[in-house]
Symmetry: C2
Subunit: 326 residues, 2 copies
């Protein structure tokens, strides 16, 4: 008899018991929570007509506004702004060249108006001429120190506690959880494993082109100032197919940028689940939807209602918003 | 006490015992086999200076010539040829347009000379105007029925038994196994899970562009006649970074197309492993290297010897080549 394995068995039972007690402690009782639990129950019940084998339990999550906050400006824009400011002395041409000029000439960062396409231009261009490993270090340093202007929290503390529980709950039920974000793939990967439990190979995002080079005989991957892929809107199902090669059975988003991912996910055969996080909590977080420049939710809200997708009201469905500060 | 879990514990012990007895039964005793076993032992031994945590145990495998055969022509070229022939009546222009004209006018398929770039052109163009799901079905039908012209085996039976054992051995030791192939990603994914135990999300390959569309309100992904990415040579480390976002600690190839992947893998810090399958067995398989049009191994062989990478001689190191026919 191997006592170590039995111990592991007991640990597993304890874990299951904990989940049985309350897998989603930060979620209020209600329709949203119930729809999640019902879906997981039916796809994991052996013999059920809706049963889905473990390898096909693919769940995809948007990041900005779904797993962490996105106000008053996308956090990655804040990161890019810090980079552009740091690099500006080496790039005098940025003073007159949009979108850099917009960033450098606007005293209040919240007032900078750039499209997601422009955001990607800033991100890609501001980081050209460095290797993937150099970039990874810059991101790690930033995420460990930069703080949100309103809350004073680290950005990694601006994640949503109920969504962390949801990720863990799905994984405990055999799901493989992926991020599918309009944000930069290389911006997310250095910290998603620690913060969300999602390893780099399960992160899909927008990207710049890379080039393999030998530098003094040592191979490096250079980040080129050229967009490779925009993982937003119609790009999300494309990114999913390219990276996963399998249609998700559950997808989670918060904006019209996620609409095509939710359409693609729910159009598959068998049991499907789509959820939209609706930012309704002006007191504890932010309230915005149809008219917002960031995380606009308009068509998605109509389609969710028409198709019976789960719409989470942050105000009503979530007991807490962020995890306690460390 | 949960008897089911204890049962699982016993099954695991039995499995471990089996592996302890002989994890690689089709490998002859010798340097190649020993180098694999030594590497796995040192990276999995807790407390060893070479220990690598499970999430970082990434192993990447080329496919053509490494996991399955590639003579007398790449199997995907055979597939593409079958498709081009089937579609030719709808494309009269192919009669005079290279590379299609080459395929259609050469009676003996083995004599068709196309570059890998041309192969991709054929594959991408011959499959435009269909959805990813339609393509998947075509591949599944082909792989289930098409037979190798020399051996009469199904192509899925032309895989290398020693490499199947190696994949299983690495996975039993906490490795995540990926395919990184110049072949088409959508050509491999429909069968790699069944044949190699590698799920679609762990398959990296060359690809065509995709476009999300609503067809009668139903979302589809159309395969466009345009190359998206060539996952060969310098492309392999790029494909690895884009998909995995983490440098492999072990890589396996057979040709100069794998050289950059092996360089990238071994240039990381800590214990690293690189292996080249050398086709030396003219009797049981094929013998080719420096002068071959398919799977050319020239620079790779020199670099392997200079750097002490493992070079497997199929003739000397492998007891058997293919698994027994079903």
């Amino acid at each position: 008899m191997n006592t170590k394995l039995i111990g592991a068995g007991f640990a597993l039972l304890t874990l299951r018991a904990a989940f049985a007690a309350d897998p989603l402690p930060s979620w209020n009782e209600g329709q949203a929570r119930q729809s999640i639990v019902d879906f997981v129950a039916k796809v994991t019940k052996q013999g059920s007509p809706d049963f889905v084998p473990v390898p096909e339990r693919i769940a995809t999550f948007d990041n900005d506004g779904t797993l962490w906050a996105e106000q008053p400006i996308y956090f990655q824009l804040r990161f890019a702004l810090d980079r552009v400011k740091a690099l500006a002395p080496q790039h005098p041409e940025w003073k007159t060249k949009a979108p850099f000029s917009k960033l450098l000439s606007t005293p209040k960062e919240e007032n900078v108006a750039v499209s997601e396409q422009e955001l990607m231009e800033i991100v890609v261009a501001a980081h050209s001429g460095m290797t993937t490993e150099e970039f990874e270090k810059i991101v790690k340093d930033w995420i460990a120190t930069a703080k949100h202007p309103k809350t004073g929290k680290l950005y990694s503390e601006m994640v949503y506690q109920p969504m962390l529980e949801l990720l863990a709950y799905l994984r405990a039920n055999g799901f493989k959880t992926f991020i599918v974000s309009g944000g930069g793939i290389e911006f997310m990967r250095p910290w998603t494993e620690k913060v969300y439990g999602i390893p780099p190979e399960q992160v899909i995002g927008s990207s710049g082109k890379l080039k393999f080079e030998l530098r003094d005989g040592k191979p490096v991957l250079m980040k080129l100032p050229e967009i490779n892929f925009i993982d937003d809107k119609e790009g999300k199902p494309v990114g999913i197919q390219q990276h996963i090669g399998r249609r998700p059975i559950a997808a989670f988003g918060n904006s019209d940028g996620d609409l095509q991912m939710l359409q693609w996910t729910t159009a598959g055969s068998g049991a499907r689940f789509a959820l939209i996080v609706h930012h309704t909590d002006a007191e504890r977080e932010w309230a915005y939807d149809r008219k917002s420049h960031i995380g606009q939710l308009d068509k998605g809200l109509d389609e969710a209602r028409a198709k019976g997708w789960t719409v989470v009201s942050m105000k009503d469905d979530w007991k807490t918003i962020h995890p306690p500060s460390r």
